[in-house]
């Protein structure tokens, strides 16, 4: 049963991808299958999370090849939480994608690509093997290429080329690093790597490979100075696509950084900790300043993705239990909030006729529900108590102070203020000021209205739940941090008891 749950988050989207691809000519049927698959995936990930909380790490060896020879799937607290969030986002965006423009999107192949993306993301969160992680990155990447240029407009082609070129180079760096790591250690299983890495003779070369991995994951996570592809492309995607990208893609990079640098490179923290700390600070500052300079909702939100990534890296930079718990809590909160803001931006565009703040206005009077739907995630993003972002920031900053990283904590606080500035800017311009031109009348049909607002309300509910009922989420994050820092436990769970001889034969 545990094994079935382990592969379900990968197999369900795979099946949905295949079925929706076969229903190519029937968009309505595709949407129903897609929605059912999204519901099934959410339920499966919730069951898996319950299993992990109840019985600890779930480990499976694919094809019954014993680790480290075959591919291991390993789901611990962090992976399970990321999978559940993937399920929630998949469902929210699947509903949202049934709204405006569904027909054209589905004719262009949205559903198969969307589920392929979910499969890649779920695979990346579940795998316990470095090369397998590379393969899931590629699955995710190729699906995201297709989704980004779905409408085939000039704008999307231009944004798509920037996105494709930079990500191609990023993943090739990953491949190169995998080759070097394999050459140095003779294994690719993450648990086995964690066991072997401290004993490798040539630590310099191993650190160089680690730096290559950091570059590859950092490019995917859009950290400073590798973030340029994100603001150049995200705003061109259609809104459901931008929402799922904003929610999941960069976070896969963050997850990979957390996983690899707490597990395999933990012994080399003296080198990578400061590097990650500086990168985290620069990412926060550059992202938030970029957002402050822009007057297009999508661009502001895109830059804020970058800025928030900085907070998530603080955990790995400091490597204290509290800091890692802060990162975990922050990732969970951020995915929900950021995707919701993109969904709201799509609705703003529909109601107000534009993404440009200059041409928007009067939306608070015209659509109060939309206003509340914006305020909750926006204030949460800025870290206003008692919303979810406040608790995330609180834990991260407190961890920074406890670890005596005062500069890091100060930067995190200041960036929070500037985030508030950007959010208030959107609020003032789009919702509060008088409308500069007449709003389009009655933009939604009944069904479209439901499809647009149901996911926004759902995600607002999640944000409020994390905000007002923080205790279980915080406790869970602390557990996750404890599991992440317990490397011996991870190694024993994946490799079983006598791993030593096996690895010798493998080499």
């Amino acid at each position: 049963m545990r094994q079935a749950l382990l592969v379900a988050p990968i197999l369900i989207p795979l099946a949905a991808c295949a079925i929706t691809a076969m229903l190519w000519q029937r968009p309505a049927a595709q949407r129903r299958v897609g929605l059912a698959a999204a519901v099934a995936m959410l339920l499966a990930t919730l069951a898996l999370l319950a299993e992990v909380i109840g019985g600890g790490m779930v480990v499976g060896q694919m094809g019954n090849w014993p680790a480290p020879f075959g591919i291991s799937l390993v789901v611990d607290h962090l992976s399970a939480a990321m999978l559940v969030i993937t399920g929630v986002m998949g469902l929210a965006v699947a509903i949202y994608a049934m709204g405006e423009g569904a027909e054209e999107r589905d004719r262009a192949g949205f559903q198969p690509l969307f589920h392929a993306l979910l499969m890649g993301v779920a695979g990346a969160f579940s795998t316990g093997d470095l090369f397998n992680l590379y393969v899931w990155f590629e699955v995710m990447l190729i699906a995201s290429f297709g989704l980004l240029v779905l409408d085939r407009t000039r704008e999307q082609l231009d944004g798509g080329i920037r996105y494709v070129m930079l990500n191609l180079v990023g993943t090739t760096f990953f491949l190169l690093a995998v080759g070097l790591v394999y050459g140095l250690t003779g294994t690719l299983n993450l648990a086995d790597l964690a066991r072997v890495a401290p004993t490798v003779e040539n630590q310099g070369a191993l650190a160089a490979a680690g730096m290559l991995l950091l570059i590859a994951f950092g490019a995917k996570a859009a950290v400073f100075p590798l973030f340029n592809w994100l603001p150049a492309s995200y705003h061109t995607a259609s809104m459901p696509v931008a929402a799922i990208f904003a929610a999941l893609l960069t976070k896969v990079g963050v997850y990979a950084i957390i996983r690899v640098f707490t597990l395999v490179y933990a012994h080399d923290h003296a080198l990578f900790g400061p590097v990650l700390g500086i990168v985290a600070m620069a990412t926060m500052v550059v992202g938030v300043l970029g957002a402050a300079a822009h007057y297009d909702i999508r661009r502001i939100l895109s830059f804020h993705i970058i800025s928030q990534i900085g907070y998530m890296l603080v955990g790995v930079a400091l490597m204290t239990p509290l800091a890692i718990a802060g990162s975990v809590l922050y990732v969970i909160h951020h995915i929900v909030v950021k995707a919701n803001l993109f969904l709201v931006a799509g609705a703003v565009r529909r109601r107000g006729g534009s993404f440009a703040l200059r041409r928007l206005g009067g939306l608070w009077l015209a659509a109060p529900l939309l206003g509340i739907g914006f305020l909750i995630p926006a204030m949460s993003l800025a870290g206003i108590p008692p919303l979810s972002g406040f608790w995330g920031k609180l834990v991260v900053i407190r961890a920074g102070l406890e670890a005596e990283a005062y500069v890091l904590a100060g930067v995190a606080l200041a960036v929070g203020l500037l985030t508030l500035y950007s959010m208030v800017k959107i609020w003032n311009e789009a919702f509060w000021k008088a409308a500069p031109e007449a709003l389009p009348a009655a933009p939604w049909t009944r069904a479209e209205r439901f499809a647009t607002f149901a996911p926004i309300v759902l995600l607002c509910g999640v944000t409020l739940t994390i905000g007002f009922w923080t205790e279980p989420f915080a406790a869970f994050s602390l557990d996750a941090a404890e599991v992440l820092l317990d490397r011996e436990g991870y190694i024993a769970a994946v490799l079983g008891t006598p791993p030593a001889q096996l690895a010798e034969v493998a080499r």
Binding site: I142, R152, L157, I161, V164, G179, Y182, S354
Partner: protein, 137 residues
Amino acid sequence: MDAMFALTVGVLVAAAAWLLLARDLLRGLLGFVLLGTGANLTIFAAGRTGTMVPPLVPPGAEALAADAANALPQALVLTAIVIGFGLAAFALVLVMRAHAAFGTVSAEEMDEAERPDDAAAPAPAPAAAVAGRKEAA
């Protein structure tokens, strides 16, 4: 043998870096293909080169011969080649579409995504600037 491999990978990566820095998208794409080849050769070299003994357990023996070739890097490289081919094919089609839409493969002259959203009717200024650049070129 290993020195040869290292040198080849070095030359490939250097050429790839040079090509990737070009504004011409086709050159960039070729750079990606070369970089991928360099990465594949790295994996291949990482798994021990220079032996001709096939990785088969001889009859009656329990384990591989001591100097048998390592089959794993070949499986990895095979996977990476397939993935790289798919990505390159997609990128090539994307560049072709962009060429059809923009009439150029120079990344510099594609600035559609940079335009602010409120330019509902395409502003004449950027188009004129592009035309001017073309004439200058």
